[in-house]
């Protein structure tokens, strides 16, 4: 299971949905695997605004990654024409964009190329464990949690 997917998962127990403790789920005994995934800037730009950054930092930290920037990269173009300012300014292509590219590549590696193959995810609210086997997480609940 990819780290990006983890950022979109919470406890399946209904009573946990309202608790901030149920997200993100916490890893135990996680075995990681790296794979090559084709880099796609359009997808990253589309998806980053939807990533919960604080949760990503917690997940990355639990899995031993320390490269996540403190702040989510600002993807709004530095200078483009807007309704209020119809004059199109030249787009700045110097230093800051080059850094963006490196940041984006690093995020791609973490979010899409890093997978949890085996392990458990635990809800911080109810303590229920969700097992991950061969990269597939099982979120089916026993009847006493339904």
């Amino acid at each position: 299971m990819k780290i990006l997917t983890v950022n979109f998962l919470t406890c399946a127990v209904k009573a946990c949905k309202s608790s901030p403790l149920s997200f993100p789920l916490h890893f135990q005994d996680a075995e990681l695997e790296q794979s090559d995934i084709e880099y796609n800037a359009a997808f990253l730009r589309n998806i980053l605004p939807r990533v919960d950054w604080e949760a990503l930092k917690i997940t990355a930290n639990e899995l031993g990654f320390t490269t996540v920037p403190i702040e989510k990269p600002d993807l709004t173009p530095t200078s483009t024409a807007t309704d209020k300012n119809p004059v199109r300014l030249p787009i700045n292509t110097s230093e800051p964009q080059a850094t963006d590219e490196k940041t984006m590549r690093d995020l791609h590696t973490l979010l899409l190329e890093t997978e949890v193959r085996e392990g458990k995810m635990v809800c911080g609210n109810c303590g229920h464990e969700y097992k991950i086997k061969e990269g597939i997480a099982n979120f089916l609940l026993p009847s006493h949690l339904v």
């Binding site: 209904k14 796609n40 939807r50 026993p142």
Partner: protein
């Protein structure tokens, strides 16, 4: 400019919604000047060739698009119209290589007839070489006959080929050649059509809550979307005999676009609430081949965790969570509610559902105040039919509060047949009217 779209004459109700969806995706303005369900030819107005190419490139319901050079009900009318409509274009194609083709619908022409008709266009003044393969330009004469009446065509068009559709991939994606399938895998052509209707595309994130063997995610990823799937049946997601959904993605060179498969139940979804999905596609189990099940027990029992020898049963590797039968209508309502919570503004939900069509007793089309119904496409089988419903998530500011939310049906009974009128009727061969719908009894039958 006017263009002629050459549709395929099958699954007619999918065609116009597909083209409209593709126009939205390509950001192209389109006006339908003529369109009917019983003709494969439709005349549309578009800005230029670039727009026409972009529009048709992803299409599954059409074969191609042509610049319209003329139309008529007789060849005299056609020639007059060609002279009037396209005269200024003729010189542009005077010296390039070219060929003429025939496309007859519900009729036929002998080669000798075809040749003499093609000769009648001599006045166009094309002097370039005629090449039957790889010509720079292709001109097509379209003849549409009345069904069963071969005495001359009803309508004739002349078109210059501008762009081909996506139908060339159908052979590649056919289930016959797919490595991992099961009895409920969606036909690849319908899956690709569904992906178009739901606006799957580059950079987007799509989710299928009834993923099965991955038919819809594959179709969405073919068009560039990144996809996520889940299924309550873990065997589907895990695969068998060393083959799984990933095997299929690998087969098509799309593995980078498949994010993950999860084992989960839509009524207890682990997906974080929020508007982060660009599209949702689902073919919920109707309860015929695959019984419709959700987590829980029939009688609501087993509310305490079970311990065997001091160890929690539900933490054992072999543990199988109990499941109960569920009503199809309730599942549809859950799916719409889920889509309203999860889709971005303008994001689409495409869902398949059956329609018992032999007695005009229909399952109602589910509604939600946040979801605007965009299209209803129908696939007809011998004794029943199913529909593809496509909805658009409207912005919260545009939600009309006075739209009634369909009340969740009170669930009666607990067997699969009690809960699923469609399943019952399927096994009865659609002989009896739907339970609860009294179309034969007089209204005052009982006092």
């Amino acid at each position: 400019m006017d263009y002629l779209i050459r549709f395929v004459q099958i699954r007619e109700t999918f065609r116009r919604p597909e083209i409209e969806a593709l126009a939205l995706l390509a950001n192209v303005n389109i006006d339908f000047l003529s369109y009917t369900e019983n003709s494969p030819y439709s005349v549309v107005r578009l800005k230029d060739d670039v727009a026409a190419k972009m529009l048709i490139d992803r299409s599954i319901s059409s074969k191609g698009i042509y610049e319209l050079w003329g139309e008529g009900t007789t060849y005299d009318e056609l020639h007059a119209n060609v002279r009037h409509r396209s005269f200024s274009q003729w010189t542009l194609y005077q010296s390039c290589s070219f060929r003429f083709e025939f496309d007859t619908f519900s009729g036929s022409r002998t080669l000798a007839e075809q040749r003499s008709i093609i000769e009648s266009f001599k006045y166009l003044g094309f002097n370039g070489p005629i090449k039957m393969k790889n010509s720079e330009q292709t001109f097509t004469i379209f003849e549409e006959y009345e069904y069963g009446n071969p005495n001359g065509p009803l309508r004739i068009f002349l078109g210059r080929f501008v762009g081909g559709s996506q139908r060339h991939v159908l052979n590649e994606y056919t289930l016959k050649k797919r490595e991992y399938i099961n009895t409920t895998s969606m036909d690849s052509e319908l899956a690709l059509l569904t992906a178009n209707l739901s606006l799957a595309g580059e950079g987007k994130l799509f989710y299928d809550p009834f993923v099965g063997t991955g038919s819809f995610p594959i179709a969405c990823s073919h068009f560039g979307a990144r996809t996520l799937g889940s299924d309550i049946d873990g065997r589907m997601v895990r695969g068998r005999d060393g083959k799984d959904i990933k095997t299929n993605f690998r087969q098509y060179g799309l593995l980078s676009r498949y994010l993950d498969g999860l084992i989960s139940d839509l009524t207890h979804s682990p997906l974080r609430k929020g508007r982060w999905l660009d599209g949702i596609i689902g073919d919920p189990p109707y309860g015929v081949r695959e019984g419709l099940k959700v987590l829980g027990t029939k009688d609501g029992s087993r509310k305490e965790a079970v311990y065997i020898d001091g160890e929690a049963a539900h933490l054992q590797d072999k543990y199988i969570p109990p499941k109960k039968a569920y009503s199809f209508e309730a599942m549809l309502d859950d799916l719409l509610e889920f889509a309203a919570e999860m889709l971005v503004d303008g994001g689409r939900l495409s869902l398949w559902m059956p329609t018992a069509n032999d007695e005009d007793v229909e399952l109602g089309i589910p509604a939600h105040p946040c979801l605007e119904l965009i299209s209803v496409c129908v696939q007809t089988f011998n004794k029943w039919s199913r529909r593809l419903l496509t909805y658009r998530r409207v912005a919260d500011s545009q939600v009309e509060d006075d739209l009634p939310v369909r009340q969740k049906m009170e669930m009666k009974g607990s067997t699969a047949n009690d809960l699923n009128s469609f399943r019952k009727r399927y096994f009865e061969g659609f002989k009896t009217p739907l339970a609860g719908v009294s179309i034969e009894k007089p209204a005052t039958g009982e006092s």
